[in-house]
């Protein structure tokens, strides 16, 4: 499917596949992602496409699908994007489990896939420990979050911790990473309790937290249940410190947890706490622009980190496409994009952080991509290590 450049300097149309969970269980994450993709499409159209190093202009079409938060649909959609829509690269998808399900499709079809989910096994083969060739991901990992949380708890003199987490992909990943980092930091995990996303009461977990006598509680969930759990812990044990994961870095958490959110601490992507980010920060301009654009595009819907993950993934791909000369076959384009992502994304300031990818690291982020914050009077306040 090689296209030839015409006299007008107009080359083939590049297609970027985009699949997120715009509906279903992960809709609150997937919907802003899908909207971000739409926004970028509009921006490219307004610019009249992208231009390669050879000066040839290319239209870009982002083909957007919804997988309804179901693994089967994710696999189908990615297959369709790769085989039918002939996308050069695919951005997919919102959830870890759903992404992991379509890894074989990306690898077998030798097409770069960038996930917006955070779990480790997305880029690293859990059985062999090797990094997948075609899989990338943009979110900060829960491992990074765990490092912050463990360091904080350690610094405040806590020695035993309870973990409450949602019985879903995010919660399980929080648990695994927090446990690993906390134990490495010498903290004792005295209780782990899960609940379902739809739960409204937590007396069973709270009773066991009380019985276990821990000194701090870590909550690994996303709103709304994160808010309910936080409120429940706060109501029963008003004094106990509560740490959370970066899944609560959206306005919804503060809105729905109310007073119980005050005093909770957690690491956040910089996007949610832009006013806390120093002007010198390399991400500052990118963040500001994304926030402005997204707010304008959606008529003032609250921005979320997840839209940011989509932005990073699509923009990286666009950068890669801009590096291509016209006249390549689809296979060549895919390989070139992959190579670009792996080798040329160096010190790349995005929404999720400053990315530096390598053959061994298809995420490219460090703990510093997150900022530690606390909530005061319903507002996020930066809470740097010096203030602990």
């Amino acid at each position: 499917n090689s296209g030839t450049s015409q006299e007008t300097g107009q080359g083939v149309t590049y297609k970027i596949g985009f699949n997120s969970s715009a509906t279903g269980a992960s809709a609150s994450l997937g919907l802003p992602e899908a909207k971000t993709a739409e926004m970028i499409q509009k921006q490219i159209n307004d610019q009249g496409g992208i231009t390669g190093p050879d000066g040839v202009k290319h239209d870009v079409k982002i083909v957007i699908y919804d997988d309804e938060s179901v693994a089967d649909n994710a696999v189908s959609n990615v297959t369709r994007l790769i085989q039918e829509d002939e996308a050069v690269a695919v951005v997919s998808t919102t959830g870890s489990g759903t992404t992991i399900a379509h890894i074989p499709v990306c690898e077998e079809n030798e097409t770069p896939c960038i996930s917006m989910a955070s779990a480790q096994p997305i880029t690293v083969n859990a059985d062999t420990g090797e990094t997948y060739r075609w899989m990338f991901k943009t979110p900060q990992t829960n491992g990074h979050a765990g490092e912050w949380q463990a360091a904080y708890l350690k610094a405040t003199g806590v020695s035993s911790v309870c973990i409450l987490y949602t019985d879903d992909g995010y919660g399980k990943d929080c648990l695994a990473n927090f446990k690993a980092t906390a134990e490495a930091a010498g903290l004792e995990i005295v209780y782990e309790g899960a609940y379902a996303t739809s739960d409204t009461e937590f007396s069973a977990q709270i009773a066991q937290v009380q019985a276990s006598g821990c000194q701090a509680v870590e909550v690994g969930s996303t709103p709304p249940v994160a808010s309910l759990a936080t409120v429940a812990v706060h109501t029963a044990l008003p004094e106990i410190p509560i740490t959370l994961g970066h899944g609560v870095c959206n306005q919804a958490f503060i809105d729905t947890a109310g007073a119980a959110a005050n005093g909770t601490v957690f690491p956040c992507g910089k996007i949610t706490v832009l006013d806390q980010v120093a002007d010198s920060d390399p991400q500052k301009t990118v963040l500001q622009k994304y926030i402005d654009d997204y707010t304008a595009f959606t008529n003032g819907e609250p921005i979320s980190t997840f839209g940011g993950h989509a932005w990073d993934a699509v923009e990286m791909t666009l950068n890669a496409l801009e590096s291509l000369n016209d006249g390549m076959s689809l296979e060549e384009q895919r390989t070139a994009v992959r190579d670009y992502l792996e080798n040329q994304i160096q010190g790349w300031p995005g929404i999720g952080g400053v990315f530096t990818m390598s053959p061994a690291d298809h995420n490219g982020l460090t703990k510093e991509s997150l900022l530690f914050v606390t909530v005061e009077d319903g507002r996020w306040v930066a809470f740097p290590e010096s203030e602990w």
Partner: protein, 371 residues
């Protein structure tokens, strides 16, 4: 009469097989650069066809259970999940846990494990079916619902065994000797071969002593018993058989996806299976492939065309329209695709036919048989 029936079935099966084989062949040989999806105007892809084939196997079983034996199951996705997980876990024992390290390279091991999965799932269905099938009507549906949900939840729990919420990866492709049933074009033949075999089995069953016993149990258990039919035994047999079919489908699914995670086996999936069975037509084996097919085609059409038509992001709109279409299908074809189209054709042909059957309710009794 009888011979005629058998011949009609045979003709249908052959025609069906030929059409599917031809479609599959197109994608292998690509005459004039034509691919399968080009044939369907890029609406239905080969991936979709394989999924239709896999679910057809489940729905044929569900049809036997619901349509013929009249025992509703709202937990069929549970058996489907068991098949997928058993196959997934057993075929990756060596790579994941270094249990039986020698089996990694053996091509027949996954095949054997498919059979083992079927036996395990069937055995499980037998164990739970015995007590549960004493219940009638909606109560059975509820019990199976509970089972399905429990299996779904547990599937996400034990990371060492099931891979937890993220699921199990690295399920190997199937092969015969050194001939790998992959890429998809090859797998297509395997899946549809299995689906057709299941359809043939079901057709034979329905038209036998067993099939009649099941249908009799459906209408009136007392009358069936009085005619010498062991209602309980046949209900259990139907449940076990449907579970075995579901397990087979689950195994094929696992080797198709290469990964198994809990999300496709939720309560919602069980409901969707029932929807597919009903859309195709309960008590009609041929309803299964067409019911599953229709649901998939509608969804794929919406996915690929809605954005173009309405100029909106698919997501929510896709589901809204899908819901409306589903409701419309059931309003206008209450007995499902196959029954309704048969009626439609017969309405043309049979001007002077015999008495139309009375309105028969889902349980097969006439509406007013209230004593």
């Amino acid at each position: 009469m009888k011979a005629l029936w058998a011949r009609r079935n045979l003709v249908n099966v052959i025609a069906f097989t030929v059409v599917l084989a031809a479609l599959g062949a197109v994608d292998i040989f690509r005459p004039f650069g034509l691919s399968f999806s080009a044939l369907t105007g890029r609406v239905v892809t080969l991936d979709t066809m394989i999924r239709i084939g896999i679910l057809t196997i489940v729905v044929v079983g569900l049809n036997l259970l619901m349509g013929y034996a009249g025992q509703v199951s709202l937990g069929q996705a549970g058996f489907y999940a068991l098949g997928a997980y058993f196959s997934g876990i057993l075929s990756t024992l060596a790579t994941r846990h270094t249990i039986l390290p020698g089996i990694t390279g053996l091509w027949w091991w996954p095949w054997l494990m498919i059979v083992v999965s079927m036996i395990l799932t069937g055995g499980f269905a037998y164990l739970v079916g015995k007590p549960i099938l004493r219940l009638k009507g909606n109560y059975l549906a509820m019990a199976t619902l509970g089972l399905g949900v429990i299996i779904h939840i547990l599937a996400g729990q034990f990371p060492d065994i099931t891979g937890g919420y993220d699921g199990l990866t690295g399920v190997p492709r199937l092969s015969i000797g050194s001939f790998t049933l992959w890429p998809m074009q090859r797998y297509y033949f395997l899946v549809w071969g299995a689906a057709i075999a299941v359809i043939v089995i079901s057709l034979s069953l329905v038209d036998s002593r067993i099939g009649r016993a099941l249908r009799a149990v459906h209408t009136s258990e007392v009358a069936a018993e009085a005619s010498g039919v062991d209602a309980e035994q046949y209900k259990v047999q139907a449940l076990v058989l449907s579970a075995i079919f579901a397990s087979l489908a689950g195994s094929l699914y696992a080797h198709f996806q290469g990964a198994v995670s809990p999300s496709p086996f939720s309560f919602r999936a069980s409901v969707e299976l029932v929807v597919m069975a009903a859309v195709g037509g309960l008590a009609s084996t041929w309803g299964a492939p067409f019911g599953v097919g229709l649901i998939y085609v509608v969804r794929d059409l919406l996915k690929s065309q809605l954005e173009r038509l309405l100029n909106v992001r698919s997501g929510e709109y896709e589901l809204i329209v899908y819901g409306i279409i589903l409701v419309s299908i059931m309003i206008f074809m209450p007995e499902g695709l196959t029954a309704s189209s048969v009626q439609f054709m017969q309405g043309r042909r049979r001007r002077h036919g015999n008495i139309e059957p009375q309105r028969v309710q889902s349980n097969g009794t006439v509406e007013d048989l209230g004593q």
